[in-house]
Every structure is written in structure tokens, then in C-alpha cells.
Symmetry: C2
Subunit: 338 residues, 2 copies
Amino acid sequence: MAPVDKSFGGTLDANFVDHLTQGVLTNNTTVLAQAITLIESAKTEHQKIAVKLLEKCIGHQTESIRIGITGVPGVGKSTFIESFGKLLLSKGKRVAVLSVDPSSNETKGSILGDKVRMESLAKEQHAFIRPSPTGGSLGGVARKTRETIILLETAGYDIILIETVGVGQNETTVRDMTDFFLLLKLPGAGDELQGIKRGVMEMADAIAINKADGHNKKPAESAKMEFSRALHLFAAKDNGWVPKVMTCSAVENKGLTSIWSCIENFVTLSKENGFFEQTRKHQNKKWLREHINHILLRDFYEHPDISKALSVLEKKVVDGEITPFRAAENLVKNYRET
Amino acid sequence: MAPVDKSFGGTLDANFVDHLTQGVLTNNTTVLAQAITLIESAKTEHQKIAVKLLEKCIGHQTESIRIGITGVPGVGKSTFIESFGKLLLSKGKRVAVLSVDPSSNETKGSILGDKVRMESLAKEQHAFIRPSPTGGSLGGVARKTRETIILLETAGYDIILIETVGVGQNETTVRDMTDFFLLLKLPGAGDELQGIKRGVMEMADAIAINKADGHNKKPAESAKMEFSRALHLFAAKDNGWVPKVMTCSAVENKGLTSIWSCIENFVTLSKENGFFEQTRKHQNKKWLREHINHILLRDFYEHPDISKALSVLEKKVVDGEITPFRAAENLVKNYRET
């Protein structure tokens, strides 16, 4: 008999998988939230159900646009997503918002937590906001986010906004699961052009200079010119898209329609020339790779002999009796032999 | 017979390991650079030599202070490290500089590349600057950086500066391999306090407001007050250290001596109460963990049957014949059975 799981108020059996699948397909948001919690769970029995659920969902997904949104802290991502999300709702879209932020594991979110963010968007009927998954590495967070996207698309959300913070690895992760990548910038914010990582700008399909209001209007226009010039230094993208630079004010609801038009143009172009589908296929290959890594490591660490042997070796490493790499080689060798 | 390796101009045998070890121990910078290149190489035969070299180096390391330095692009990290590095040289220290920047894999570095950075520090006799290792994930870069630290300490460098960029995962990685963590900030740079990830501030042992010169002096003092207040919101650190907030100007060489005194005080305190050693032990445990993961994945992907099977599955995933997670499960299952 399948085990009873109190956190899900029932037995983790085939009926439960059907219950979840039905709930997700009909966009029962309570069940949807529960299904995402299951995906985010590290427990083996939850993971098994999650795989079954996902297999049932794939093939029932709504055609969506997955949009990555990034920018440094203070650039106004939450306000932007709130205003932009409402614009999309007014156009009849159904909008889901996810975060990729591995640092939130340790930090329990930013000082202004996820709960108070995007309050007015969260109240809308056709919007669904999910805070960052907790636990695990960037790879773990990425895996959970990918699987959550499948659920959201199965539930009928056709715009998936995935926000992330920072400069570097987070962006690469988010770009690898989105169709369009939007970089938010501030006018004259001290990160002069030469300090900006070429790679982050290269990833962007559009740059929006936010907070282009009040006394920032003029600096925003200068920043726009500067970024436009900088983008010309890069080689043209394979998909034929020329990245756009725009200004906007999320607070004053200005420039958001242009950003949406830009995204629509991008989708039209890349669907016409086949790059939209090609990118998603390439992303699925990456997903395969990451899922393999996940399984390999999970199976190793969950092996009953490993945790005991590992703690013995850890002690030896700490006491300086063995080097970390020798200890690692020995442990894996023993694992192979069992 | 061991293979002849043209990139290292000789045979990869025990004599070569001895040659490298001697070169590192005597701080022959040409050999040291070659040894680091070996560590950074992904080739199996290079990795084997690297493990042997590292085993010989461990136990011969100079007592060092490993200092992590982070900040957003534009904060002036390179200039800071140049000025700070020269201060340390003037105090008789031997200074090595490393970068942890996985995004540089794709981006070939920032627009101003590593070569032109820190030009005057690089010319100094007792300074050694190594650009970011290329290739691989953040985990791969972290592993190579840890092993490079061992070589540098064996070569007698007693101050290891490890810089990184961004907000999030990079910082966690660098904190996990350093004794002291310095966060550089700009005065009034638009990333208001509420936008700063609590976690990055919590990691910091000190915050230095850089570019506190000219018309920035007053904003820098305000920022200092603001950050000091914010730090009071956090729980005291286990090691008894109270994080400091300072201002400095790397360009005008101001405030750097205070930062160095602060680090010296930190080291004295944490050596006295045992936290210095305890932290390093904890870091070695993490290193063990990461090295295990590295071996597990390397062995899998280097298995002769895997690459063929993987490309067949990739095609099926791309063609929508199988889901990425089912494909991953099948491949790992087959691998276990061979």
C-alpha cells in the first residue's frame, strides 16, 4: 500500500496523481500550488509522484511565451512585473510569475519578503505568483523551476514571467529556460558601461531603462543612447533579432506597451524563422543533462552505505588525515564496487 | 610508458610531477602558471597529474589569509585590488589574486579584459595575478580555484585575494573558500537598502564604501551610516565578530590601511577563539562533497557507452518522443546495469 502523507492529506498513490493532474488541468489554484510544493519537495516519494504528474501534463500545455526578467537589486523588478503583468492581463493574457534566486535559500528572501511583493497583481484572477523555491543548489532551483513551468502551462497560463537578480550565473540559468530575455537597467546608476559584463548584455533581447520618470527622464535617454551604441558592438544574433533598448517607468505605467510590442515582434519573427522552436529544443537537451546529473547525485547520496562512510571520511578530512580529493576518489571507488 | 604531452613539452610521468612540485615549492612563476593550467585542464591525463601534484603540495602550504572581495560591476574592484595589493606588498606580504567568475566562460571576460586589468600590480615581484579559469560550471570553477589556492600557498603567497562579481551564488562560492569576506559598495548607487539581498550583507565581515572621494565623500558617509544601521538588524555572528563598515578611495589610496587593520583584527580574534581553523575545516568538508560530485559526473559522461546513448536520447527528447526526465531515468538505469 502506498504511504499516507500528512502534508498532502492523503495517500500518495495513482489516485492522488490523477487528482493532482485534474486539478492542474482545470487550473484549481489550490491543487496547482500543492502540485508545485510536491515538485519542490526533496523527498523521494514526492519526487516519484512529481515525475508521474509531469508525464501526464506534458502534451497538455498551453502555447506560452516564457519571459526572463533580470536586473540588479533596486532596479524595480517587482514594480515592473506588477505593472507589466497587469498590462498583459488587460490584454486577456493569463500571467504566472516565478523567481529563480538560489541565494534565497539561506537568506529567507530579501528584506522585503515575497509575500508583500506584487500585492495588487497577486489579487488578480488570472495571475499566479509563486515565491522562489527553497532548498538546494542553483541546479536544483533550475530543475524545480522548469518543472513548475510545465505545470503552469498545463494550467493554462500563457505568459510565464521568470525573474532573477544579479549578474552572472542566475541569468544564464534563466535564459536557458525562457524564450525572451529582458534586462532592466537604471538611468545613471553607477555601473558604467565598461563594468557591465559583456555576457549579460549579449544575453538580452531587450534592455529597458526603468525609472525613466521625474528628474531621471533625461539620464534615462542618455543611458538608452549609450546602451544602443554598445549593443552595436556585438555580433548579430543567429535568430536575426536585433536587440532593442527602451525606456519605461513602471511606477507611471509608461513605456510598457512598447516593451510588450517588442516581445510580440520577437515571437513573430522567431516563430517564422524557426528559432523559437529550435531554442526550446536546445533547452530541452540542457534539461535532460541537468536531470541526469540530479539523478546521479541523488542516487549516490541516498545510498544507505554512503552517508555513514561519508561522515567517517569527513572527520578524516577535517583532522587532516586525508586530502579531500583522495577521500572523494576512495568513496566513489567503494560505491562503484558495491 | 606515459604519454608525451606537447602542451607541457614533455612526458606526463612521475618526473614531471616532481618537476612541477619543485617549481611550485620554489615559486618558479613559470612552472606555477603551468601547474595552474594543468589544474584547469579538463583532460583526464592532466587531472591525474594534478591530483598527484596537489597531494605533494598539501602540508607544505604557507600560513595564509584568504580574502574574498565582491561587489557589483562598476564598484571598482580591480582598482581596489590594485591599491590594496600594493599596500600589502609594502608590508612585506606576498599577494596572489584570483577571480571566480563562471560567466567569463561564455563572455570571454568583461569588455576590459583581464590582461589590461591590475597592470601595475602585475608588474610587482611578489604579486601573482591569475585570470578566471575558463570552462565548466560554477562548481568546476570553484574546484579549480580551491586547488589553485593550494598551489599558491605552497609557492609561499600569504595573502590570497579572490574577487567575484554579482549578487548571489558567486558570493556564496567565494565565501566558502575564504577566511574573510569584504563587500565593496558605492555611495548612493541606486541600490537602496531594501533591495540588497540580506544574505549578501550577512556574508560580509566588512563593507567598504569605495569611491569616497570628491563629491562622493558626503554620500559615502551617509551610506556608511545606513549600512551600519542595517547590520545591527542581523543576529551576531557565531565567531563573535561584529562586521565593520568603512569608507575608502582606491584611486586616492585612502582608507585602505583601516581595511587591512580590520582584517588583521578579524584574524587575531578568530584564531584566538578557534573559529579560523573551524571555518577552514568546514570548508574542507564542502570541498570533499564537491569533489565527489565532480568524480561522479565525470565518470558517467566519460563512459564510452554514454555519449552515444546520450545523443540518441537527446534526439528523441528534441523530437518530443520522450520527456527529459524519463530519458534521464532510462539512461542512468542502463549505466548502472553495465
